[in-house]
């Protein structure tokens, strides 16, 4: 049995930050990660096995065998899924988590994103709620994340949209041809643009070099280590203290309690042996699906429904992001190969739209792998084989632009993670069972944003536009959130305003699970900021 001050479960964006902050605060930390620690060379540039195109697997786990989940569709049909299959809602299982191979968009949520219920009211059937904290509570931690992990962006454009005390530490990454074209279109429409903030070094920063503008950013690891996440910043800092022990290929089975109080965890190590680890404080950062699963699997006589689940709230309100967008065949080439690719966003439709709830950011696209272009970007009426398909690829790979973005989802209590009564993983642990869908209002807002995407492409010179608005479905994916949401009332939330599980002053959550709503933006900056905030609170608590 090991003993530390703190155990952190999951070495992703949030867990790496929490572990680093607590180690630097003088605590001894055990960080437990189910995946491996992979160097750049260990993460292949395999176009058929990555988190952008996973038809035949992933480059950063989880392994395809032994990690099933069960999906229940809207007709009640059950499917046992492997990690690379559609609807599994996968995220990378590796030290660094999804952020090891992410696109690194570094958005703050807007002040209004924390007050959705007050602004829009609560649609029937939804669990829409305000956060118990405001933008002002998170702002100092956003700033800390931007500086300690490293964000490039346009400080003035950002300050026109977000109250902020300090600019970004680095200017935006270079503009490419796609960005020039869509900015021209936005200008014609009178839509103000903002350079997409990225957790990518546009200049040398943090002892690591600047981005070399390669074509394999999203879905892959950075060849020069210019992409910033917790594993190459806070986790590295934490390890440098000598107080942080990282255990990999280890699956946490349950949070252990004695007399109802959290005392540590039980995990299965890489040799398949069950180990007990003990600590004063436990921080869960396994991602919104796996954190919920872990809480539900942590049953005891005092907590027969699992930890934090006395009110049947754990695992509910699962959300991610709908991604409405459209493709345009442009009148000029837009691909010049300058990565990461995404450059330019519109944020005027995040709020204040007539007749829909909320909205979302919309932006241009990362450099698209050729096989992804073939699989997803071709016009729907184009025959997928024969001379015509080859000709379209040849003539138009450089001429198709895509704009799209994350819509703020309206949560449903029925979109949820439970435990499957039959299916178990390779360690014999009950797996996550996913059921329900987002609220229909999410679909309406997505249709509105789809129309804006078409409008933007048309103004940018598209000769032809295609793409469809998304349909009602379960959402989660890499932006998964909401399953242990914050609130002041334990009857309708799982964690308190400090990300502590209600009723447990030594059990924290440091991933997207705590998000009450998920913003109309990529969530990672908020996950990291709240991990800083929770870890700082934990460090001060004893």
């Amino acid at each position: 049995m090991s003993a530390h001050d703190v155990i952190v479960v999951g070495a992703g964006a949030g867990g790496g930050v929490a572990a680093g902050v607590l180690a630097e605060a003088g605590k001894s930390v055990l960080l437990i990660e189910r995946g491996r620690e992979l160097a750049y060379e260990d993460i292949p540039r395999d176009h058929l096995r990555n988190h952008r195109y996973s038809r035949h697997g992933h480059n950063t786990g989880p392994s395809l065998d032994g990690n099933p989940r069960v999906l229940v569709d809207s007709d009640g049909q059950e499917y046992t899924l492997r990690p690379h299959e559609d609807a599994y809602q996968n995220n990378a299982a590796v030290v660094g988590g999804g952020a090891r191979v992410y696109g690194a968009q570094a958005w703050r949520y807007l002040p209004a994103d924390f007050e959705m219920a007050s602004i829009y009211g609560i649609p029937p059937g939804s669990s829409l709620a305000d956060w118990p904290i405001s933008y002002a509570d998170v702002a100092p931690y956003y700033e800390r994340t931007e500086w300690e992990i490293g964000v490039s962006g346009d400080s003035a454009e950002s300050a026109a949209r977000w109250p902020r005390d300090r600019g970004y530490p680095m200017p935006p990454v270079p503009l490419n041809r796609q960005g020039v074209v869509v900015r021209r279109g936005a200008e014609a429409l009178g839509w103000p643009t903002v350079a997409v903030p990225l957790l990518i070094n546009s200049t040398p920063y943090g002892g690591r070099p600047a981005c070399i503008n390669c074509q394999h950013c999203i879905g892959f690891a950075c060849p020069v280590d210019a992409k910033n996440d917790s594993q190459n910043t806070l986790l590295a800092r934490g390890r440098a203290t000598g107080r942080l022990d990282l255990v990999t290929e280890a699956m946490v089975e349950q949070v252990d309690t004695v007399g109802g109080r959290v005392v540590g965890v039980t995990y299965v190590d890489h040799d398949g042996q069950r180990q007990s680890a003990r600590a004063e404080v436990v921080v869960l950062a396994a991602g919104a699906i796996e954190t919920a699963r872990l809480l539900l699997n942590s049953t005891s006589p005092e907590h027969p429904q699992g930890l934090g689940n006395a009110h049947d709230q754990v695992g509910r309100n699962l959300q991610g992001h709908y991604y409405p967008g459209a493709f345009g065949l442009m009148s000029e080439p837009v691909h010049d190969g300058i990565g990461p690719g995404v450059t330019t966003a519109i944020t005027k439709f995040n709020h204040g739209n007539a007749d829909v709830i909320g909205g979302g950011m919309i932006a241009d696209e990362f450099v698209v792998l050729p096989i992804i272009f073939w699989a997803r970007n071709l016009p729907p009426d184009l025959r997928r084989w024969g001379a015509e398909a080859k000709r379209f690829m040849r003539d138009n790979y450089t001429r198709v632009a895509r704009v799209m973005g994350p819509v703020q989802e309206i949560p449903s209590p029925d979109a949820r993670v439970t435990l499957d009564p039959k299916v178990r993983d390779r360690w014999g642990i009950p797996v996550a069972r996913l059921s329900g869908t987002t609220h229909p209002e999410t679909v309406r807002t997505s249709a509105f944003m789809h129309a804006r995407a078409r409008e933007w492409l048309a103004a940018s010179g598209a000769q032809r536009i295609w793409g469809s608005p998304p349909r009602l479905k379960l959402s989660g994916g890499q932006h998964q959130a909401g399953t242990a949401r914050m609130g002041d009332d334990p009857a309708n939330s799982v964690t308190d305003r400090w990300s502590r599980v209600h009723g447990h002053d030594n059990l924290y959550v440091a991933d997207g699970s705590v998000h009450v709503t998920n913003g109309g933006f990529n969530p990672v900056l908020t996950i990291m900021a709240l991990a800083f905030r929770a870890a700082e609170h934990a460090a001060k608590s004893w």
Partner: protein
């Protein structure tokens, strides 16, 4: 990575006749023009590797589908698929794609065809490390250049 012994093993996966049909099929899915067709660009090599790996569970479907395509061509054109003129091959394939076949198929013709089309694209447009897209020829064709 696929070992040499695995590759050597899987050339026996298909009969000579099935491989002839497969080659002709791949070259209609991605025909040659001033850039190579699917087979010359290495789609067959991609499939060789994948039959020993991810596509192992689909080998039976490939065998059955290729045999059925051979029967279909003989029944509707009087010749083996690989011996039919390209225009007539395309005519057969359009009917297969639509599921509008003249003979008995032991696999769903439309699903078989859709699957082979997808795998051909993976071999042609995927990274050369997967065994196809020889020398990155499809990337040169479309303008995808790897600079770093």
């Amino acid at each position: 990575m696929t070992s040499a012994s695995e590759v050597a093993e899987i050339v026996t996966v298909l009969t000579e006749s099935q491989r002839e049909t497969l080659r002709a099929l791949i070259d209609r899915i991605i025909p040659a023009d001033d850039f190579p067709g699917g087979w010359d660009a290495g789609v067959g090599d991609y499939l060789d590797r994948q039959f020993a790996a991810d596509l192992r569970p689909l080998i039976e479907m490939y065998r059955a589908g290729l045999d059925a395509l051979g029967h279909e061509a003989r029944a509707t054109t009087g010749s083996d698929f690989a011996q039919v003129a390209p225009e007539a091959q395309d005519e057969v394939l359009r009917r297969v794609e639509a599921g509008d076949v003249a003979t008995d198929w032991s696999v769903d013709p439309a699903a078989f065809f859709r699957t082979v089309v997808e795998h051909a694209a993976e071999g042609y447009y995927g990274d050369p490390g997967n065994g196809g897209n020889r020398d990155g020829v499809s990337w040169q064709m479309i303008g995808f250049e790897v600079t770093g």
